[in-house]
Amino acid sequence: MEALLIEKENKSATPAIQVSGSVAVLEAFLAEGVDTVFGYPGGAIMPIYDALYDYNDKLKHILVRHEQGAIHAAQGFARVSGRTGVVFATSGPGATNLVTGLADAMIDSTPVVCITGQVFAHLLGTDAFQETDVINITTPVTKWNYQVTDATEIPAVLARAFYIAGSGRPGPVLIDITKNAQLQLFDYNGYQKCEHIRSYRPKPIVRKEYIQEAAQLINAAERPFVIFGQGVILGKAEKEFQKFIEKAGIPSAWTIMGMSAIPTDHPLGVGMLGMHGNYGPNVLTNECDVLIAVGMRFDDRVTGRLDKYAKQAKIIHLDIDPAEIDKNVKATVPVWGDCKETLPLLTELVEQKVYPKWLQLFKDYQQKEVEKVIQEELNPTGEVMTMGEVIKTLNELTKGDAVIVTDVGQHQMVACRYAKYNKSKSNITSGGLGTMGYALPAAIGAAYGDPSRTTIAIIGDGGFQMTLQELGTIMQFKPKVKIIILNNQFLGMVRQWQQLFHEKRYSFVDITSPDFVQVAKGFGIPGKSISKREELKTSLQEMLEQDGSFLLEIMVGKENNVFPMVPQGRGVAECVLCREEI
């Protein structure tokens, strides 16, 4: 590694100037096109913050209220903008506070580069003040991490960090820089982007023979079914994907992470997969003859019980990460590669087709779901409001143009089930890790990721209390974040499970909340709390029309459940529509 770094630096022809390691970090950011950094200063990262003082005009630094907020904000930024999010944190507690966000970014493949300060190199391993072994703590939750103890390494290491975070299957990278390296002056030869690491292959070579095999299977299929994940969005292959399904005429369902890659009202879009996904796509997974999985990883929340998952189908799996192929579901034909490259090749070989009868089957199931679940959820006859009607009303007002950031739990499932999207990168949520407290900071990041769009955070009363200190960040920097708290006065999803599977033994799910409107007011954010249906539309309108942030608390039914549901341990075909069916 060291030999490689030295070789790289020698190639540059720019005459050397003396700079500090800290300046080299900031120069690397500028060269990588970074304009926004989320962070929190501290002892071991002070030299970088000192250098940042002079970069105020080029780099926007958002001071969060907790490092977890910084990394979630960087994630939200990355997910909306399609660029790499950047974080600063200090050593010790600053670094360990990043761990949840790193794990979240790892499992959801979000490109993030975190720079952590570290104690002086000579103090490493001495239990110095705010020293923690951040490299070893973060190894399982980073795509790559590296400790810099010598400033001369910084340009090449940061070039690698950005290259690794953003290429192939993206992920979080952490660079730990000792304080002496931040202070050290060295001959700086300029910054060169990294384009190749010999031991790292971001994109596997596309094997034409598998594309041909896949096309043959698709062309011979009678009931083909496409399921797609975030890979389509991360691969910036939305158009290629849409062309593929439109030519092949195949009904397509999204995972929670793949949502918004195609407009939610696309004629071939049949809904969401998974534990609380739509009825048709779940049940019909076990009736298709060819299952084409694009940029998704067969998470257990999507597959339910594996030995009852699509056993009748031939499976074509397109993924950029070779380790995903055959990991959970055995592929008949593996098409590994970047789907931006593989999809057009496949589209060329598939025949133009339509499957009206097969597509109708999805519609029939949808109709059943409407009758048993959706109708009542969106147009409740009861007095109390449902989460579903909030989302429906929001759809009417945003017309599907907003970025919706959700937290974790019932409100997340309901929002993802009913929200309408016209544009890709509109659904930001913690999918794999299920991190409560994600939404508020992620929405702050999302607002910086694309300031031209309306950012709406939808959060439960529980999750909001996990990171509500980030209201301080909103107060100070004024990103326009619309906050909707769907308050059911319970930790709703756990309560639902306790009701359904633990004989209604409600163990510590009854959560008391502060007066959220007063809390927001304390942070200088206007707000409102409503519990009546008549106020819903006007209040949402008021929230959207507010020039700036707004907090709207909506009291919803306390013991409403999210259905359909594939109960844990059951197959996707055993998806149930109501409590009685469990």
């Binding site: 590694m1 030999a3 490299i135 070893n136 190749h196 010999r198 031991s199 070579i205 380790a323 990991k327």
Partner: protein, 196 residues
């Protein structure tokens, strides 16, 4: 599928922390590493891990893919015992007086191919290179003669069908790696090196 002994050979960059990155792939899945050795390889600057585990082929294949996914790993191969030539080194410390006084011990050591590493007045150290059963056997034999200390190294293994890593490395160094660098296990060609 039944569990059996597999030897995983990993070619990597020489990087601090990589040992941990590889080790946690096993510990995360609660898989015990029977033996682990790191050494230089036939190629300058490329490091070689030799890891032995007892698992089913399906699990071993997935593990290898997770290993290859690490940024600094070039390639991971897995092989059954009959696809490799392998050895371990064992050392035995016994009191010198026993060796000197017993003709039988000398004969036993000769039979087991042990060679003397050091002779001191108080003790003598022998070494044997061989497979597990062979080195185990000698422990049993020496136990009655006051075996003072015993240690065995990790397994090292040569893959019978391998042509070495020199040619393969060139593929990795190209900006666009050739087909060979991206061996596809779905072809399951077991002819040459069985690569994951």
């Amino acid at each position: 599928m039944t569990k059996q002994e597999y030897t995983i050979t990993v070619y990597t960059e020489n990087q601090i922390g990589l040992l941990n990155r590889i080790a946690i792939i096993f510990s995360r899945r609660k898989i015990n590493i029977e033996s682990l050795n790191t050494s230089p390889s036939e190629v300058d600057s490329v490091h070689r891990f030799t890891i032995v585990i007892n698992e089913t082929e399906d699990v071993v294949r997935k593990l290898c893919r997770q290993i290859e996914k690490q940024v600094e790993v070039l390639k991971a191969y897995y092989n059954t015992n009959d696809e490799i030539v392998w050895q371990e080194l064992a050392m035995y410390k016994v009191p010198t007086e026993v060796i000197a006084s017993s003709v039988k011990v000398e004969r036993l050591l000769r039979e087991h191919g042990a060679h003397t590493v050091v002779i001191r007045k108080d003790y003598t150290v022998f070494a044997v290179a061989g497979q597990r059963e062979e080195t185990d056997k000698l422990i049993k034999v020496l136990e009655p003669y006051n075996l003072i200390e015993f240690v065995r190294s990790a397994r090292i293994a040569i893959i019978k069908a391998s042509d070495g890593f020199h040619e393969k490395l060139k593929e990795f160094e190209y900006r666009e790696p050739g087909e060979d660098a991206i061996e596809n296990e779905f072809l399951n060609e077991n002819e040459k090196v069985f690569s994951m």
